[in-house]
Symmetry: C2
Subunit: 518 residues, 2 copies
């Protein structure tokens, strides 16, 4: 795997950088060479049999949560130094991360994710039915690509890793360059947890480097990949996964506008609350959430004006913040400038550079008719990562429908309704809910999309480009991504795995001859 | 959608051809132009709201089965004239097809496929949990690509169509050129069924033509595709689906060797039965099943010789048969010639041309060590569609393991065990089952892979190239392919769809706050 000509590659250093100053903090690692990627994947592949034991996996996930907590102070300090997200937010994120790991341990114990279906032989049918028993088995080594904006919950110890390990898949993580020190610490905690429960440490490996990420998706022993990041990066990896001699599933979460529709009645009843809530949601985490509301439909006229006044006040009061890295800051500032320069776009609060390395939050307004047909204003329908949102002023429902019909897929869509509309009166609430459902994976009423609860009913995914698959990366059902069904036909009882035995020694929920048992 | 320059395309006729004579029977249709593909997809897209009603879909699926039965005589006659599969087989296939349609009606009525999960709001949690309710909604228009070898069960009225309609997805079928008349008759029956239950006929449309199939996969309003066919054709469409600006899921079933391992003990106990059973399975339907056993491991030595003697006798007795079309016949004869010419390959019964347009069944033998490493003999590890199989003679278990580890993914893998091995004695049965599980989707013991029961526990899929996804195209869970989850957060009860209401008016099985209800 060395370059042709026999030259020995020079190790490329991986630096931890402080986004508050732009200065290098320390060299954390070196970028993985192709040979190192290959070795990591092979070592991971060799741990599959060890990970097959369900009790060991349950113990691993719980030990991982414990180890992360034990190292919590150091991990949070490193993450804050590398991401400027602040210790309060990062403490919460660590809690979310350990909660996820423990929740997946519970899912493994529950076993419903195995989708056990048993159909006994039936000779009375035409043709006679043989004995068939179906459950799900792990796909193999999972490649996980970390997100910039969640150094824990969507990175090394995050939901992709937790769900893949829960499914029985060893994990090789490509760390995000915005937080290599945090990634190393989290990786070490996870490997220690593996050793503690008697598993090989190589059930989880952390690698660094852009090229390593490209090698990883192409490796023949990688069976699936999870990704959280940009549309450009995610699409490139999706394309590489699809172009392999043996294509693999690529579960990418790429980008989302997260439209919000505020009805006239909602604005009349709750202008101040909605304006203030929007300001909080769009500036949370310096606007660096994949669920940031990026396009908000507010009615023209007095009630909408009042909403904007509240928004203006609250956004104006928001303290400038530091973005995750310098490149992101440049992209944000350029994106805001380009959007603000469009005809008819106004900037009641101008997003822009703040002191030192900060940026200030802001928002833009535009009339809905500018977005009704293809044109330069389509830039406003693209995500702009950072603390900015676009307010679309509309005169009637048809304008909202026209713009909604032009939107790409989203993780979320939000509806703010008046009280009577929420009670089903007038039909407006139902109509809007029906219009938002086809374009998003999670539909909220009278709330804000930032904040994604980790629970069984969660769905964090949506039509492309929100995600590249129909699956979720948050919540219990995220485990489904790393499994495939297998059916045994007429296998003798002595050879059946315990999951498929008639006596159900593991007490799994299952469907037997059409009846559900649990 | 007309070619540049304004030239009006000449309609390309679609002929029904009799494979017994190679002669054209009648002109059935013309190939769909790009404009016709576009019109068909748009018309299908417009029927989504009508298909959303679950009772109507149940009625549609049952009416479709009734209409196919009403036209059964004409459909079977056309199918036999076009495919030479014989009326006995085609009568059985029609029964399988109507059974599938009715089984999916039952699945819709059951509603378990909606995967309803409800988590009520819980303010006592940190952070507080909002009310979240998840179920599955249809993806949109489904493109279905018919198979050559099942003019009914995997074609216009087949499993892909039935499961997509059950999910609520309108269907546009690209008919297979081997049976256009059958496709037209089946399509007419399905459209009549739609009209009968008050649905627009455009919930199902049949198109013809290779170029129409290429246009179809690229159409922006097509949301998913199902395919049964060759690796080359399936991979081309998979690549096109992945390369779209908005990629869509492509559920392709492409090709499979379906390995069979016969242990020494099995051969000693049941040489004659296994040899005879193999002959029946590999010649069934003139070897034109995707589950045909194409690579069979038989022990070297006396018991294996006896198995081969039984196989030789039975295959030699098999009547020559007509393949689905002339091109397939040429490919089969060339594939057999090329394989038989390899060093060390013997042909105890030579497959080859029979009288008129028939082919005679046969089999090849080769020593396992020829397949242990990459080389010219790898051709034997590629599917050869038609009545031929390859017998691999092995001296020990390591040789079997070595060859198995080199196989691509399969729909099925089969194990023939001795009585004690099946009872779990000696460990050989468990070891072999564990070796076969990673390379296939259905693992059989002491049976034959041809014949795929339509039931909830069925899995007809496997690692690439068996299928391009982790899903099945046969059995109840095939419906999952055409759905995506959506979660409603804090939606007022008055606006919730009935599937997600607390009072569960549809009586759906569901998971509520972690507890399963049914």
């Amino acid at each position: 795997m060395r370059p042709a000509g026999g030259a020995i590659p020079v190790a490329v250093p991986v630096w931890s950088v402080d986004p508050r100053t732009g200065k290098q903090r320390e060299q954390v690692a070196t970028e993985a060479t192709a040979a190192e990627v290959d070795a990591a994947v092979r070592a991971a592949h060799a741990t599959r049999a060890a990970l097959a034991d369900r009790d060991t996996r349950i113990a691993l996930l719980r030990a991982a949560a414990d180890q992360l907590e034990a190292d919590g102070e150091a991990i949070i300090a490193a993450a804050d130094a590398e991401t400027a997200l602040g210790t309060t937010r990062l403490t919460g994120e660590l809690g979310r991360t350990t909660g996820q790991l423990r929740a997946f341990a519970d899912e493994v114990a529950d076993g419903g994710y195995l989708d056990v279906i048993i159909d006994h032989a039936d000779g009375s049918l035409t043709p006679p039915r043989p004995d068939l028993r179906r459950y799900k088995i792990p796909l193999g080594v999972a490649a996980v690509y970390s997100a910039s904006n969640f150094p824990l919950a969507f990175s090394v110890p995050g939901g992709d890793t937790a769900s893949a390990l829960a499914a029985g898949c060893p994990v090789v993580v490509k760390a995000h360059p915005d937080h290599p020190a945090t990634s190393e610490l989290a990786g070490a905690a996870l490997r220690r947890a593996a050793a503690q429960v008697g598993l090989p440490e190589d059930v989880i490996t952390v690698l660094h480097g852009f090229e390593a990420g490209v090698e990883l998706i192409k490796h023949p022993l990688v069976s699936a990949a999870g990704f959280t990041g940009s549309i450009r990066g995610g699409r490139a990896l999706f394309d590489a996964a699809a172009a392999r001699p043996t294509p693999i599933p690529f579960y990418g979460e790429l980008g989302s506008l997260n439209p919000v529709v505020v009805t006239e009645a909602a604005a009349v009843e709750r202008a101040g609350e909605i304006g203030g809530g929007l300001a909080g949601s769009m500036t949370m985490g310096v606007g660096q959430f994949c669920t940031k509301p990026g396009l908000v439909f507010a009615p023209a006229g007095g009630a909408g004006d009042e909403l904007l006044a509240a928004l203006t006040k609250k956004v104006g009061e928001a303290a400038p913040g530091v973005l995750l890295d310098g490149r992101m800051r440049e992209a944000f500032l350029a994106g805001v400038r380009e959007r603000a320069a469009l005809d008819g776009v106004e900037t009641p609060v101008a997003a822009g550079p703040g002191e030192a390395n900060t940026v200030a939050a802001g928002f833009l307004t535009v009339d809905a008719d500018r977005l009704a047909a293809e044109g330069a204003h389509d830039l406003l329908l693209e995500e702009c990562f950072g603390p900015v949102t676009v307010i679309v002023r509309y005169a009637d429902a048809d304008q909202v429908t026209a713009v909604l019909s032009r939107l790409p897929g989203n993780l979320t869509a939000t509806l703010h309704l008046g009280e009577a509309e929420g009670a089903g009166e007038g039909g407006q609430g139902g109509r809007l809910l029906a219009e938002l459902t086809p374009i998003a994976g999670r539909i909220l009423v009278n709330g804000w999309p930032t904040g994604v609860a980790v629970t069984a009913a969660q769905h964090h995914g949506g039509p492309y480009p929100a995600t590249t698959s129909t699956s979720t990366s948050v919540g219990a059902t995220a485990i489904e991504r790393w499994l495939r069904p297998v059916t045994y036909q007429s296998a003798p009882p002595a050879l059946l795995p315990p999951e498929l035995r008639d006596d159900n020694p593991l007490g799994l929920p299952r469907r037997v001859d059409g009846r559900r048992e649990h």
